[in-house]
């Protein structure tokens, strides 16, 4: 195990993960005002409609694909009798569709950011960087799927050394390595047989995780699921304790006491 291997598959992922966790805590604590999706729809929406919808749905699908391939162990599939050829077929088609959607989407988003003057003028460097990084990671991810599953796998074309031989499977290699990071017993040896294109994809992905908390990507954590539960009209009181006490009494069927001079005592 060379020093470089140790750095790439142990130190760098942990650096990125540390930044990811600490950065989020720090940002959430100190920068609620900056926590937003930073939408630019107000300034441009004709391109955004395609870019945003394709990218977001594509990336969500791709995320679940990664959960299926990396997080869920191959033993699980074998245990439930989900055969490898089925998995390969699913990963090929669902992966290609999701990847293509996300790629077209992020491409439009990048083009829009660079070529619509209104957006470019006020775009911060971090936003350019994140959009470009997403483009790179998604493009390489799609190359992985296309090259490994179609070019080499289906069409038997050369390039297996770069894209991966058909007999290579990332589920017993990359998967366990990724999971080993979370059990704090990282095993870089598992990455030894992994073809280069996968490695590039992973290294860039960790750069994305590294920068995530300092960018507009934090809006991912703000998926407003609470909206489904709450009532439409919201009230807030300058003295919530008092309002709550009143509501509690109401619920219990008691008559709340009058306010004597002002809302002083409950």
């Amino acid at each position: 195990m060379s020093l470089l291997d140790n750095f790439l598959w142990v130190i760098w992922p942990y650096l990125a993960m540390a930044s990811f966790v600490i950065g989020h805590v720090f940002r959430y604590r100190w920068d609620q005002f900056g926590w937003t999706s930073e939408s630019s729809e107000l300034l441009e929406k004709r391109m955004l409609v395609w870019g945003s919808i394709l990218f977001h749905w594509g990336i969500i699908l791709a995320f679940f694909g990664h959960v299926m391939g990396i997080i869920i162990p191959i033993q699980f599939y074998h245990a439930i009798g989900f055969k490898d050829p089925w998995y390969e077929l699913l990963s090929l088609w669902a992966g290609t569709i999701a990847g293509a959607a996300a790629l077209i989407g992020i491409l439009i988003i990048n083009i829009r950011r660079w070529f619509v003057r209104r957006l470019r003028t006020h775009t911060e460097n971090m936003k350019f960087a994140i959009d470009a990084l997403l483009l790179i990671v998604i493009a390489i991810g799609l190359i992985v799927t296309l090259g490994y599953r179609i070019w080499v796998g289906l069409l038997n074309m050369p390039g297996g050394a770069f894209f991966g031989q058909p007999e290579f499977d990332y589920r017993p290699t990359i998967g366990p390595w990724f999971r080993s990071l979370f059990s704090f017993a990282p095993d870089p040896n598992l990455m030894a047989p992994v073809p280069p294109v996968f490695k590039i994809h992973i290294l860039f992905a960790f750069l994305l995780f590294f920068l995530w908390p300092y960018s507009h990507l934090v809006h991912v954590w703000s998926v407003p699921l609470g909206y489904l539960r709450r009532s439409y009209i919201q009230y807030r009181s300058s003295n919530p304790r008092l309002s709550l006490a009143r509501d509690r009494m109401r619920r219990e069927g008691k008559k709340p006491p009058k306010v004597e001079r002002a809302r002083r005592v409950e």
Binding site: W35, T36, E38, R229, Y235, S238, R246, A262, R263, V265
Partner: protein, 543 residues
């Protein structure tokens, strides 16, 4: 019944001269920042016209406000909660900056740095967003005094059905009126209902609708959900912003800056008491033309001892109840009914009311022989320059009778007071003919014509007795503390003890004991359940 107080405004359009002082002072106070250049929390529109943003009243296009579902229940016109979440990546109903206007500034430096030449140097306009030079085609208040009206005004959404035939933008027949607009601080705000993050809320004490800038995540559904298009998206901060009803001034008992500086003194601010439990039903009335009456029915007479008693039980302070009794809003909008809500058909129960303008009488102008009795002005209401139908489309969901009644009262008041001033004896029949008593006539005259500052603005200061209590708790409670939401760290150390706070705390505890109640917990949230109840509060409210 659950009595709540709401701060509300009436604008007497009869007096608006369209000077835009309100807009300018508002802008100087609130929106002269990057990202907010295009926002006019207060704007004055010349009607007929498409307004700001363009065609904001066209809800077929923007889908703001509420509608009745097939089951007769209120629904957001742009789609419910699930629909919104499924479409959160792109809000099809959001206007773009071009629907408002692209803000610009001038290249002033060339005026001083230009080299001597045969021609005057020119300061060119350039966009405050992209920095590019702009060819100005639209801007704030572009339609002022009907500028460009032959082109843009026919697209006014209020000109529909028979009005399309009737209204011609010819010089001799042309008419106009000013409509100053701020956020309506609705009783049933669709922007609040549209906010996925729960960052928008109505203040429980005075009903002012605000955006929590820290909780807003920039999903933009409030901006499109408001049928008045009075929630704006700040492209610089990525957060929504809106008219705050100048709450820092209101809390100190001062009128909003737009009202304070109104040259025509046409704005009135005061409290109204309403039954919060009746709001949803009132907004769900099937017939649009009955919405106005339904809206008025949720208000409670502050002079009624039973209402006052209930208000005390529901936590409205005594001086607020007293202020509600003196409120100029209650008589104008409810008792005399001359204040009308802007587009009641949006079902948001807006809290800024408008007294419709009288206007020159066309027919008398053209054919003086026709008017036999100069005092008999009621028939002339039909002949006013501003078509009754047009006013009705703006202020009463198309119900012309409502507009006629209001205009008659305004005309009758003038006749009554003229008679009184000229002959020394008023004609009580003039008052009775519009269903008002002589005393009401005179009160209405006083309020509309000569009311002084403290009659126009009856604003009780906010009760901030507990403000320092909250301050002491700042940073001591919250989500982050060990034990999860609702757990609080101890507030102050011995060295930094807030004596005033503890004195008040003991005061509270003594009082609680005297009443045989549980001792109050001075911590913000007693438990996770309290925390949730606070944040999911409307649930019990059923609103």
């Amino acid at each position: 019944m659950r009595v709540k107080a709401q701060i509300a405004m009436v604008m007497n359009l009869d007096k608006c001269i369209g000077c835009h002082t309100c807009s300018v002072t508002c802008k100087n106070v609130w929106t002269n920042r990057e990202g907010a250049e295009y926002m006019w929390w207060n704007d004055v529109e010349t009607k007929p016209g498409v307004g700001y943003p363009k065609e904001w009243e066209n809800q077929e296009k923007w889908r703001g406000g509420w509608k009745l579902g097939e089951d007769g229940k209120l629904e957001l016109k742009a789609g419910g909660k699930l629909w919104k979440l499924a479409n959160i990546f792109y809000n099809r109903d959001l206007p773009t900056i071009d629907d408002y206007y692209e803000p610009w500034t001038y290249d002033y430096e060339t005026l001083t740095s230009a080299k001597p030449s045969a021609h005057q140097p020119v300061a060119r306009p350039h966009s405050q967003i992209s920095g590019e030079e702009l060819d100005l085609k639209w801007g704030p208040n572009w339609e002022d005094d009907l500028a460009g009206a032959p082109e843009s005004a026919p697209r006014d959404p209020n000109i529909r059905e028979e009005l399309e035939e009737q209204i011609r933008f010819e010089y001799e027949r042309v008419f106009m009126m000013y409509v100053p607009r701020i956020c309506e601080h609705c009783l049933n705000p669709s922007c609040v209902a549209s906010c996925p993050s729960g960052a928008m809320y109505k203040r429980e004490e005075d009903g002012i609708v605000l955006v929590d800038q820290e909780q807003c995540r920039g999903w933009r559904y409030c901006a499109s959900g408001c049928p008045y298009k009075k929630v704006y998206f700040n492209w610089h901060t990525g957060k929504a912003e809106k008219c705050t009803f100048c709450y820092p001034r209101i809390e100190a008992g001062m009128p909003t800056i737009c009202s304070e500086t109104c040259v025509g003194r046409l704005r009135y601010i005061g409290l109204v008491l309403y039954d919060a439990d009746a709001v949803e039903e009132a907004a769900s009335v099937a017939d649009e033309k009955e919405l106005l009456d339904a809206q008025r029915s949720v208000f409670l007479d502050p002079g009624d001892p039973a209402v006052r008693e209930q208000a005390r039980f529901d936590g409205v302070p005594e001086d607020w109840i007293e202020a509600a009794r003196r409120s100029p809003i209650y008589p104008l909008a409810i008792e005399w009914g001359i204040g009308l809500p802007l587009h009641p058909e949006y079902r948001t129960l807006p809290m800024v009311w408008y007294v419709p303008p009288l206007s020159p009488v066309m027919k008398l102008f053209e054919d003086p022989e026709d008017a036999a009795d100069p005092d008999d002005v009621f028939p002339a209401i039909e002949e006013m320059r501003i078509p009754v139908k047009y006013l009705a489309n703006i202020l009463s969901a198309g119900d012309e009778e409502v507009i006629r009644d209001v205009l008659k009262r305004l005309v009758a008041m003038r006749g009554y007071m003229r008679e009184k001033n000229l002959s020394g004896e008023a004609d009580d029949k003039a008052a009775a003919s519009v269903g008002m008593s002589p005393r009401q006539m005179e009160r209405m005259f006083r309020l509309l014509a000569i009311a002084k500052y403290d009659e126009r603005y009856v604003i009780p200061p906010a009760h901030r007795e507990f403000a320092h209590e909250l301050e002491a708790q700042q940073g001591t409670c919250g989500l982050e503390f060990a034990g999860g939401p609702g757990s609080c760290a101890s507030a102050a150390t011995d060295s930094g003890r807030n004596e005033a706070f503890y004195a008040q705390k003991e005061d509270l505890e003594r009082e609680a004991e005297r009443r045989g109640m549980q001792r109050p917990n001075v911590n913000f949230f007693r438990s996770k359940a309290d925390f949730e109840a606070f944040h999911l509060k409307g649930k019990e409210a059923g609103a």
